[in-house]
Every structure is written in C-alpha cells, then in structure tokens.
Amino acid sequence: MTTEHTPAGSEPTVNVAHDEAGTNVEHDTHDNAYSGLLVNDANWAFGTDFEDPLAGVDTTVPEGIDAADLGVYCLMLGDDALVFSQRITEWCAGAPDLEEDIALANIALDLLGQARLLLARAAAADPNLVPELPEGSPVPDEDRLAYFRNDLAFRNVRLAEVPNGDFAEAVAKILIYSTWRLSIFERLADSRDTVLAAIAAKGVKEMSYHRDFAGRWVLTLARGTEESRARLLNALDGLWPLWTELFETHPAEAAVAAAGIGVDPAEVADEAGVIIDQVFAAAGIDRPEKGGLAGVGVHGRKGRDGLHTEALSRMLADMQVVAREHPEGRW
C-alpha cells in the first residue's frame, strides 16, 4: 500500500483504482455501465407513471345522452379490449417464433392502449362506475376499473375471455375479434362523443394491421399442411359459438346508438360476415356449422350483462392479484 496518492489527513477517494502499471486511474462515467441509468430515474422504465391518459382532453358528456349509458358503453368496449389484450399477452415468450411473439405482443399492446383510453373515458363519463379504494390510494381511475372489479362487473363479450389454445386458435380468434371490432370502430369514428371518435379513429389504423396479420396466418395455415389445416378448422369450430353474441344488441348499446354516440353491433353483422367469408374463401374453408353459445337464465344473459364463463374469473384472479394486494402501492 502506498501513501503518496492519499495525503495524510484526507480520506482516500473511493473513485480511484490502479491500472497495470500501478498508477491511479480516475474513473469517469464511462467506467460504470449503469451510470447512464443512475442520472435519470425516467430511464428506468417507461409508462409506469400514473397520469391521466386524457389529460387536457375535453371529456364533457355530449347533450342528448345519459352519462350512465355512455359510461357503461365505454366500459363494455374497454373491457373487450382489456380482457382480449390480457389473453394475447399470455402468449409472450410462447409463440412459434420470435417474429410472431413480437407481433402478438404488439397487438396486445395496441389493445391495452385502447383499453386504457376507453376505461378512462368510462370513468370520466360516469365516476360512479369507479371502485372506491382507501383514501390516499394513488391508483388512477382506469386502473381501478381494470384491477378492482369482480368478474360480474365486467361487460366484455365472451369471445375476449376464451382461454388460449394453439397458435391456430390465436390467429383465428384475432381474425374474428378484429374483423368485428374494426367494423364497429370505423363507424364509431363518427361518434358525437369526440373522445370516443378519436379513440376509434386511432384504433381503426391499428386494428387494420391486426386483421391483416391474422387473415394472412389463417390463409397460411389453411393452405399449409394437413396438420396446420386440421388445427385451424378445430380452432374455428371451438370459437364459432361465440360469433353471434358479437352482433347482439344490449339495451345500453341501443341507447348510445340512438343518440349518435355508439354503434349498434347488429348494424355491422353483414359487413363483418362478408369480410370473414372473403378470408374463408381465399383459404378454401367453410364457416363452421355451430350454433351460438347460450346465455344464462331465462333472459339468456351473456358477456355484456356481466355473465361470463369460468375462464374470465380465473384470468382476473391472475391479472388482479398484485394490484389488489397493494391498493395503496406506488410503482
């Protein structure tokens, strides 16, 4: 140990090392691989901050519509996007190859973004929808809706919650969802509610890519091997019972459609059917001959009424557990 570099009476600096010749070397910032991360907390993670995604956006409820109807309608659309996004997210690191893995993650992220905006719009339209949390909880409204409601409060169509199967099931499901949804959003872009119109206009651009992606894979699998074709047909058989529910009109949807704010899904049934048939024709396959999955009770209540398959409850348990453990957590 030499003392020449540490004058008596002063503490040795920690930022000193010796090179091979024994000379002291001052570390500069380049010597620490993590230094770039330490100067700026914002570099640690993207999007973890709680901030209103509709900051500065006018969320006044348009005239001629009940705020509760608008809120429930936004909740329905938001829950579709959230639940379906979560299902596709489950594919992360599980797709057949890296490109498809990234594609599925991208699609899920687009839908998550749509869900965040739609749930924020639901909360702004009707604050009564938002679950109460302990005072001082920093959880924003859209996250309260996503993480602190039980299955019976979710209003998504049941197609969105179907448990994942193989890759053929994933692309068949994305084709059905995005075909239906794109037809609705193309019309919703003309909504009198400017927030919904903006979310829909953006969503149309994004989901055009989703529908094309899924359509191409349906073609590829249908015209591929016997095995890929058989898997695709099997997937479509399993999903088809949920097709008709997509086009059934819930009273809340009828109310917003009559007010020029929402879209009656029955209106898009023909268009969506024609597009699906185009894909099927190009793929050389027929529409499955399967009836619709029944609803619950004498009224046949389904996803839009909050009546779901068991799969949703399990998915929510998985999705919500961390948030529910820490209702006052900051991330």
Partner: protein
C-alpha cells in the same frame, strides 16, 4: 440551474415563448433518440397561458409506452429553461400519422439505419382487407438494394416493421405507414 434564475421577465414575452419552444424542441423520442418530438410529429403545440407553458402531444399509437417518458422529458427540459410548472396535454384528434415525420426526421432515421415510412394509406370507405404482404418501396438502409424481405409487420416498437436485405443480409427496422 442558471437558466432557472434568469426568468424574472414576464413569461408572456416573445422571448419566453421562443425559449419554451426551443426547450420543447430539444426533447427527443425515448426509443428513437435520433428524432426530436418535433421531427416525429408528436409535439403539436407550445403556448403560454397565464404565464404557464402548455405543450400538446399526440400519441403515435394508443398503447405507446413512451408517452409518460415524453411528458416527463418535456417537463424537465422546460424546467431547465426556466418554466417550472409546464403542463403537458394530450390531443387525440386528429390522430397521429407517420406523414407528420419531418424531412429532417426521415433523414435522421435513415442515417441511424432505420427505414423511414412512405406515404400513409389514404382511404375512402371501409378499410380494405389485405391478405398479401404489404407492398412498400423499401430499400436496404445499408446497401440501398430494393431486394428486401418483410420479416414481420410488427417490430421492437409498435411503430415499426422488420425487414431483411436479401443482398447484403442486413436486418433493419422500417417505420410503418399509419
């Protein structure tokens, strides 16, 4: 810190708005740092209301996870320029389009090895179903060959597709037309 101190003049002056615009104009995209938010077309407006700087940004994609970082970076850059309480607003209409990427931005992308977008599709009526790979006039960012292959319509960020050059084999990103 010095910049924070020299702001005693009224914040409504031409000097103040110029300084605010310059500061906001320095902020870069967190995932494509060769682009400023102006180049990317995300920064839509910088104004001063009641002495407070208001910036307006439009998200590229609904789920773009960089939005919160853009907001933080704008507020920090404006703070350093002497505007401690800058507000960042979101504008959803009109929706962002890749056509808003400036010429300087396109050049910066290309210089960084990222293929810039062509013109965004304009449509009348319903969105057409496209069952064949998207046709684009993409050239290799390394050798300039147009003999390129679309590996995937989805890339490392929501705004990019992935290509590979079949001549020099360089894999590269392409910013999607949207």
């Amino acid at each position: 810190m010095t910049a924070v101190l020299d702001t005693q003049q009224p914040a409504t002056s031409t000097e103040a708005i110029d300084r605010a615009r310059a500061a906001a104009g320095r902020v870069t995209d967190p995932e494509m740092p060769m682009l400023t938010l102006v180049d990317l077309g995300v920064l839509r407006d910088v104004s001063i209301e009641d002495g407070r700087v208001i910036t307006t940004i439009t998200p590229t994609y609904s789920g773009c996870p960089a939005m919160a970082t853009m907001r933080d970076d704008l507020q920090r850059e404006l703070l350093h320029a002497g505007f401690p309480d800058a507000e960042v607003r979101v504008s959803l209409t009109p929706a962002w389009t890749s056509d808003w990427i400036t010429e300087a931005g396109r050049k910066a992308l290309k210089d960084a090895g990222i293929s810039p977008p062509g013109q965004a599709p304009r449509r009348e009526g319903p969105v057409a179903l496209t069952l064949m790979p998207t046709r684009r006039a993409v050239t290799c960012v390394l050798c300039g060959s147009d003999n390129v292959h679309l590996s995937s319509e989805f890339g490392p960020t929501t705004c990019k597709a992935m290509y590979q050059c079949l001549d020099c084999l360089e894999p590269f990103d392409h910013v999607k037309e949207i």
